[in-house]
């Protein structure tokens, strides 16, 4: 039962517990090392639906299809390799009209998607019409290995209007799936058809796509966020896709067929909540210079999100932190003694993680009271179902937060300078119940609770030797631990050095005891 938590779960208190992370333990490194390790780039907007849209452009008889194909291949390789020199070598011969746009494409080395729309735009401008070569083109496009899109037969949302009004701009969104490293993920495919009117020919334009969540009605719209900075509006997590389209050749450009202009990876988008969501897409073509809207279209679609929404997350954080305080008390009380230093540690965690700008003095006092009640609950032997609480946390809190909670609990165990076997047993259970990696838990344990703090110092507690291990398994485990601690023994930190010395002695005893001296 964890109803005990009621006193600290009251509304005002929850507000006061508005927290709080990242935790103190991590903050000591902030601002220190400023390098990050190599990492592969992951884009949100994967690519543009090339083959489908290009299939619609027909070749005039007087242009050699092979020339187009060659150019496409070159451009695709530029896109992949990012060479601007190569881009410049492409002559403006009426097929790819602007080397500038090609060069720009080349520069955005990883932004394959954006480049490809420029490509399709360029081709659009040449007004390739006619029949010849269309089949061949699509065949060759297949060979380019550009990211592939599969349409799901059943689109999402309502039926598309059968006959769009070609005088204005129309948009529609379809749900597709994208294979990346053999993992399929949902994508929104944004398509346009109809007309765009520019003030004059050769007007430079950009495309923007934004999404709003209108599930709770149009008066309570909520923004859709995105995980990747690149697709965020300046300094806010809100999603807005903005792409340079180059120049429109004529005053009026007509897209006779539905043309895919953007493909958005759903996994990169952050909806307000999980479950069935009504989304409204707004697509606009803007003048690049004046940012004036030349054409705009809206459409709605329904999406079933399996990801936790950002509002869900905020709710969960509050709940999680409240529960974490409960776990911390449980650790403190595990040995049937609630030391003042442990209580102080918990209180100071709550206080220091409290968002002071939000909590009023009154709320703070209330929180104090709630904490005191909780202390009283544990002091009088109150029972607490830590397993259930952990299960709940595991469902609502991301992994990083769960590690923070464990770190917090380890801090509580450490507060009075030694850890009892009951405390340790509970900590070990918490790691399991919170679904954390056992090796990581061990590493955290080593750091926060050095061996001399342990009430019981045996191979099982300190080294993780389990009774069911075979001799050979134990031997290997101990060798691993020995190699690890032996390399730490020359540490310049005396605390690490003496811990290493103690653990090495323990390992040697364990080897003698569990493995013996026969080889």
């Amino acid at each position: 039962m964890y109803e005990w938590a009621a006193p600290i779960l009251g509304g005002a208190v929850i507000a006061a517990l508005m927290v709080l992370l990242p935790l103190v333990a991590y903050s000591k490194y902030s601002g220190l090392p400023l390098l990050r390790a190599p990492k592969r780039f992951v884009g949100a907007v994967k690519s543009w639906t090339l083959s489908k849209s290009l299939n619609r452009f027909k070749f005039p008889r007087n242009i050699n299809a092979n020339v187009i194909i060659h150019k496409l291949k070159t451009l695709a390789s530029i896109v992949r390799n990012g060479s601007s020199r190569l881009a410049k070598s492409l002559a403006p011969d009426g097929i790819i009209s602007s080397t500038k746009s090609a060069a720009r494409a080349a520069r955005s080395k990883f932004r394959e998607g954006l480049s490809v729309i420029r490509l399709s735009e360029s081709i659009n401008r040449t007004k390739l019409r006619g029949r010849a070569g269309a089949g061949k083109l699509s065949q060759l496009l297949d060979g380019l290995n550009l990211p592939r899109v599969n349409y799901t037969p059943n689109g999402i949302g309502r039926e598309f209007p059968t006959k769009p009004d070609m005088e204005t701009l129309n948009c529609r969104v379809r749900l597709g799936s994208h294979e990346d490293n053999a993992r399929a993920s949902d994508i929104f495919i944004v398509e346009l058809c109809g007309s765009i009117r520019a003030p004059q020919a050769m007007h430079e334009v950009t495309l923007t796509v934004s999404i709003t969540d209108v599930t709770d009605g149009t008066t309570q719209t909520k923004p859709v966020r995105v995980r990747t900075k690149q697709w965020q509006i300046a300094d806010s997590p809100v999603f807005c896709h903005d792409a340079d389209l180059g120049a429109l050749h004529n005053e009026t450009t007509t897209l006779a067929d539905w043309t895919a202009v953007a493909q958005l990876s759903c996994s990169q988008l952050l909806l307000p909540r999980k479950g069935r969501r009504n989304l409204q897409f707004t697509v606009a073509i803007l003048s690049r210079q004046t940012r004036e809207t030349l054409a705009c279209a809206e459409c709605a679609c329904v999406y079933h999100s399996t990801d936790t929404g950002y509002i869900d997350l905020a709710d969960n954080i509050q709940r999680t932190n409240t529960l974490a305080v409960g776990l911390a008390f449980a650790v403190s009380a595990a040995d049937h003694k609630l030391y003042d230093c442990e209580v102080d540690f918990i209180k100071s965690w709550v206080m220091s993680n409290l968002d002071a700008s939000r909590a009023s003095a009154k709320a703070e006092r209330k929180l104090e009271k709630a904490l005191d009640k909780t202390v009283a609950f544990f002091r009088t032997g109150g029972q607490f179902d830590a397993c259930r609480v952990c299960t709940e946390i595991a469902q609502i809190a991301p992994l990083a937060i769960r590690y923070d909670i464990l770190e917090f609990c380890l801090g509580v165990a450490r507060a009075n300078g030694h850890v009892t076997s009951e405390e340790l047993a509970l900590l070990r259970n918490l790691a399991v119940w919170l679904e954390l990696d056992p090796d990581r838990f061990r590493a955290m344990l080593e750091k926060t609770l050095p061996v001399n703090m342990h009430e019981v110092q045996d191979a099982e507690t300190i080294l993780g030797v389990a009774p069911n291990m075979s001799k050979e398994e134990t031997r290997r485990l101990l060798n691993r631990e020995y190699a690890k601690w032996n390399s730490r023994v020359t540490s310049s930190d005396p605390a690490v050095q003496s811990q290493a010395d103690q653990v090495l002695a323990l390992i040697a005893d364990a080897r003698r005891e569990y493995v013996g001296l026969d080889t």
């Binding site: 991590y26 390399s487 390992i507």
Partner: protein, 516 residues
């Protein structure tokens, strides 16, 4: 041309070997005629002008333990350790310098001035400890041309004096440290594969176990303590060592214990001793297994086990090795001399490589054909903040760039990226250690690397570490876009100008000291 020597600065005994006219190393006995000099120091109160080093210091220890120092090697590199004698604080490097001074002077008296020297250290010694050893040599006016790993020196001596070939494991169990080195030997060509060492495992730990047995039997008999002052302890430490050595020859050893409550005739059997040191033996087993693992070798693939260090005389050690490897290990005539002899060879080889003109033709021809490739003794890396794949959070980590056991000379690079927009500088740290967790590695240098302003995040910075045969490390941080470069050099004998001044001072200080 000047003398070239090798010095084994041991935990319990130190030895000096000189290269003779034909390039063969020979042990130089000290002024007392002993081939080994105990690494012990005694500051005589009655005669403060003379500092005693060696056997006399050992004997004086029983009279005044306060003013004597032993096993200083265990404290090398420990910045907090100080021995205070008559108001002066001695650092481990300074105390080691006294031992070196004694060796140097005793040798010079016989052979003339020493020019160039190599001092040996355990393979697992880190940069700080190596540097402290180097400093100790420089302070007494030795031109320390290199620091060599003890097992490497020993193997060098073995390989040049007898026929060994194939995969060789050097098992070096001395007075205070234990090292295992695995190497490929083909005639005079030696390639080190890997080294592992335990800094707190050696003869003195075995002595301690015997001392505990003695103390316990006294307690059992008289319910009183045998040792009541430092001088008692000093005396019985030596008795314990004596018992240990006896047990290497005989199944039992007897000793009279004279304590405050009466005297006791203690008898210790070899079984009792072996039982008492079983945890330490377990530790040696693990180290051998870890080294074999690192070398990717099975015990059966080891062609020869070479014994080095006085503690390998313990029968149990030999039995275990024979059992593990299937054949009896090979012993030099004198296991406690081969490190110094090898160090002298190493000194000759270093001189031949770096300053061939200052090596006599006789020595040069004696050393001809010997070739040794060493490896990086530790891993070197830098601190970075990658995003943890599991939690999605930036974490601070040590990333290894140059891996331990890479053959020298070597070079390795990795590219890192700036973390935020407009990042103007990067704190670059050079680390030594095997862990990813920063808490467990040693930061050997930290510098600020300034970057151009106004750039997006993710600008690449290439980090290149290289390590040459003279154990000089070169680190280069390169901002790819701007071409800006930060370079950091490490040499064992070079600590930057400020410390060189100190070195100068301390050389003068040691010149005026008298050591006997």
């Amino acid at each position: 041309m000047g003398n070239i020597v090798g010095i084994d600065l041991g935990t319990t005994f130190s030895t000096l070997a000189i290269l003779n006219a034909i390039g063969k190393p020979e042990i130089v006995p000290n002024a007392d005629g002993e081939r080994l000099t105990p690494s012990a120091i005694f500051f005589d109160e009655e005669n403060p002008d003379v500092i005693r080093v060696g056997i006399e210091a050992i004997n004086s220890r029983h009279l005044n333990a306060e003013r004597s120092v032993r096993w200083i090697k265990r404290h090398m590199g420990d910045t907090d350790y100080r021995k205070t004698i008559s108001g002066k604080d001695w650092t481990p490097a300074e105390l080691s310098a006294l031992i070196l001074k004694k060796l140097k002077e005793d040798c010079s008296a016989e052979h003339g001035e020493i020019c160039d020297a190599v001092i040996s250290v355990p393979a697992h010694f880190d940069e700080v400890r190596r540097r402290a050893t180097m400093d100790a040599g420089t302070a007494v006016g030795l031109n320390v041309v290199a620091i060599v790993n003890e097992p490497v020196a020993a193997a060098l001596y073995y390989a040049t004096t007898r026929k060994v070939s194939g995969k060789v494991l050097v098992y070096d169990l001395g007075g205070g440290t234990f090292d295992v080195t695995i190497m490929d030997v083909d005639g005079q060509q030696m390639d080190i594969i890997c080294s592992q060492g335990d800094h707190a495992l050696g003869g003195i730990d075995f002595d301690r176990q015997i001392l505990e047995i003695l103390e316990q039997s006294y307690r059992d008999k008289f319910s009183a303590e045998l040792l009541n002052c430092d001088e008692d302890r000093a005396r019985y430490e030596d008795e314990a060592e004596d018992i240990k050595k006896t047990l290497s020859r005989r199944p039992t050893a007897k000793k009279m214990l004279y304590g405050p409550a009466g005297s006791l005739r203690a008898e210790i059997s070899r079984e009792m001793f072996e039982e008492a040191i079983s945890s330490l033996i377990a530790r040696t087993d693990m180290l051998v297994e870890v080294a074999l693992d690192e070398a990717g070798a099975q015990p059966s693939e080891i062609d020869k086990v070479l014994l080095v260090g006085g503690s390998t005389r313990i029968p149990l050690i030999r039995e275990r090795l024979e059992k593990m490897f299937g054949s009896a290990p090979e012993t030099a005539v004198n296991v406690d001399e081969c490190v110094a002899l090898g160090a002298a060879l190493y000194a000759g080889l270093t001189m031949l490589r770096d300053k061939p003109d200052s090596v006599s033709a006789g020595i040069a021809s004696g050393l001809e054909g010997i070739n040794l490739t060493d490896v990086c003794n530790h891993s070197y890396g830098t601190i970075c903040a990658p995003v943890d794949e599991e939690t999605g959070r930036r974490t601070v980590q040590n990333r290894i760039i140059l891996k331990k056991n890479t053959p020298l000379p070597c070079e390795a690079s990795q590219t890192f990226y700036t973390t935020y927009e407009g990042q103007k500088e990067v704190e670059v740290t050079i680390t030594q250690g095997e862990d990813t967790a920063v808490e467990y590695v040693n930061k050997i240098a930290t510098h600020r690397f300034e970057l151009p302003e106004g750039r997006p995040p993710d600008c690449p910075i290439k980090v290149t570490f290289s390590y040459d045969v003279n154990q000089r490390m070169h680190c280069k941080f390169e901002d790819i876009e701007s071409g800006r470069v930060l370079q950091v050099d490490f040499r064992l004998d070079q600590n930057g100008e400020v410390e060189e001044d100190n070195a100068q001072q301390s050389t003068e200080q040691f010149e005026s000291l008298k050591v006997e």
